[in-house]
């Protein structure tokens, strides 16, 4: 790990008790949902991470706690560093405080995540649908959302697939 980044990560570990993971020179810091706004503010103001490069999520269904990881990819232009924050969220009514007040770019990014994953961002100033039509039901990027075509049924798995087919409900 880069020396400058190591100091920043240590700062986060001391203040928020975050755990870290490393893979191919990338650092992933795990942050609790309640801390995310404080962590982002600290990184922006003290450590010069000016840019929220990407904000996305990943679904680990059928695992339910945590089911989602909300991912914040931060870039520091001044120090030329990158760090990734991961916020594990439970599957039952997933909620994360909004980052819009720290990085305005989070406004659209969070609207996209609300559409695609059904993760609620508390305090979001404009929680309308962004990419999906207003009458769309379900959250397409969740792993339990079908891709749109039918799975082929064979003799060995006919019943297994039949059970999860979206037949019309009575």
């Amino acid at each position: 790990m880069d020396k400058k980044l190591k100091k920043i990560v240590q700062d986060l570990q001391e203040k928020f008790g975050s755990s870290i993971e490393e893979f191919r020179d990338e650092v992933h810091v795990f942050v609790k949902p309640g801390q995310i706004v404080d962590v982002l503010t600290l990184l922006r103001d003290k450590h010069e991470f000016e840019l929220l490069s990407a904000q996305t999520a990943s679904d680990y269904w059928p695992q339910m706690s945590p089911r989602f990881h909300v991912i914040y990819q931060l870039t520091s232009l001044a120090k030329n560093l990158s760090v990734q924050l991961r916020v594990p969220v439970n599957g039952d009514q997933p909620k994360v405080p909004t980052a819009t007040r720290v990085y305005e770019v989070a406004n659209w990014r969070e609207r996209e995540l609300m559409d695609m994953f059904g993760i609620q961002f508390e305090g979001h100033p404009d929680p309308r649908k962004l990419l999906l039509p207003e009458d769309q039901e379900g959250h397409p990027l969740r792993k339990d959302f079908p891709l749109g075509y039918e799975e082929p049924q064979f003799t060995f798995n006919y019943e297994e697939i039949d059970l999860r087919k979206p037949y019309a409900k009575e």
């Binding site: 990943s58 030329n80 770019v105 659209w108």
Partner: protein, 409 residues
């Protein structure tokens, strides 16, 4: 068929000014089908006479579920989806995705392949900027610009066709290298382009750069300062036009960009004209990179020798049992990637094109997210159009160089 509900102002209450609620200002739809929105973008404008009070972009008309579709394909097959994101920068999208896959599975790329990748992505950057300069001129009623720019773009698309057989959706760059080596005609075609193109840039500049009508439309319009730009995640030429010297090719060199001598054009004004100047200068810089890369193009293989990820050449299959097994495994099952995630970014003509890629140990990506630059570059538009005329909105929107396929994914 679901019934179409009447759209009321309630939905937009928190986004428009109070004057809109009393009917003092007018709400007007611009788009989705409007020639100057560069695709299907709808803008809800709140107008006081001809002055814009608020602009609310509405996107998603081109949403095709590319990220979800990629999860259902193997790493190699998912690559064709990336072409369809930003259809002005297909080679660059392939590069971003392939670099992500290579980082995830730790795959090497031969030097010759790296150089060819650089040549093609820089040519594609020129082509993308040419489409931009053409449509920019078109939006500002400089019709001839469009015809000139598309003439040169055609030469670049011919070079892409020469290499890959396709003009736009190339999928020429593959994880671990390229689909195949460039044909013998490639060098001459690129050299011809390098020879003629500087004169063409001079032509464009003669038409536009000091044209008083053009200047009147652009100077001081749509000012964007560096702090607002960073807050809204703006990257690429738009950020550099606001005075921030940030180019991933320079600060985090990939594909051997550090061995080429080029400048990163930066302007400080942050207005529409500055964005024009930055992109025109980028045309020259890209051409410099292409020339240098072509001059020292090394010989050698264009695909990695790592047979676990890259299929062996056809000639080996007849004589080697292992080659046949690898060939069969790769084209039926695909290669597995570790259970981990990476984020890898390249500089596309529009800004930081990032790929978040997550593997689960199997042959298909568990999650792919494309961080597309147009998405964030558009989100700042509603901030910078306030107080300008509707005609200026056209200029501002054109200067952001958005591609709707890139935004909606």
């Amino acid at each position: 068929m679901s019934q179409i509900e009447e759209v009321t102002i309630d939905q937009y209450k928190h986004l428009v000014s109070e004057r809109a609620l009393t009917g003092e200002t007018m709400l007007l739809n611009m788009g989705p089908q409007h020639p100057s929105t560069h695709g299907v973008l709808r803008l809800l404008l709140e107008l006081d006479g001809e002055v814009i009070v608020n602009a609310i972009p509405d996107i998603g008309y081109l949403h095709t579920g590319i990220e979800k579709n990629m999860e259902a394909k193997t790493y190699l097959k998912a690559e064709v989806m990336t072409d369809r994101l930003d259809y002005m920068n297909t080679v660059g999208n392939n590069l971003a995705y392939c670099m992500a896959v290579e980082k995830l599975v730790d795959l090497d790329v031969p030097e010759r392949a790296q150089s060819i990748r650089v040549i093609l992505t820089e040519l594609q950057r020129i082509a993308s900027h040419l489409v931009w300069i053409g449509t920019f001129g078109l939006d500002l009623a400089a019709m001839s610009m469009f015809l000139y720019a598309f003439r040169e773009r055609e030469a670049i698309l011919d070079i892409l066709e020469l290499c890959s057989g396709q003009r736009m959706m190339t999928t020429y760059i593959r994880p671990g290298g390229l689909w195949r080596d460039v044909p013998v005609e490639f060098e001459k075609a690129v050299r011809d382009f390098i020879k003629t193109f500087p004169k063409r840039i001079a032509e464009y500049e003669a038409l536009l750069t000091k044209n008083p009508l053009f200047l009147d439309r652009l100077l001081g319009i749509g000012k964007l300062d560096a702090a607002t730009a960073l807050q809204h995640g703006v990257t690429g030429p738009m950020l550099r036009a606001s005075g921030v010297d940030w180019d991933l090719r320079k600060v985090r060199p990939y594909m051997g960009y550090d061995q080429y001598d080029f400048n990163v054009p930066v302007a400080t004004e942050g207005d529409t004209y500055a964005r024009y100047i930055v992109r025109v200068q980028e045309l020259r810089e890209s051409l410099k990179i292409v020339e240098q890369a072509l001059n020292k193009l090394p010989m050698g293989p264009v695909r990695s020798e790592n047979r676990k990820f890259v299929a062996p050449p056809r000639s080996e299959i007849g004589v080697s049992m292992e080659a046949l097994i690898h060939h069969f495994k790769l084209w039926t099952e695909g290669f597995p990637a570790p259970k981990a995630s990476i984020y890898s970014a390249v500089e596309s003509p529009r800004g930081e094109l990032g790929v978040y890629l997550e593997g689960d140990g199997g042959p298909k990506p568990y999650r792919v997210h494309m961080r597309t630059p147009s998405f964030d570059n558009l989100s700042v538009v509603s901030k910078i159009v306030k107080g300008h005329l509707v005609a200026d909105l056209v200029a501002i929107l054109a200067s952001t160089d958005i591609v709707l396929g890139d935004i909606d994914r």
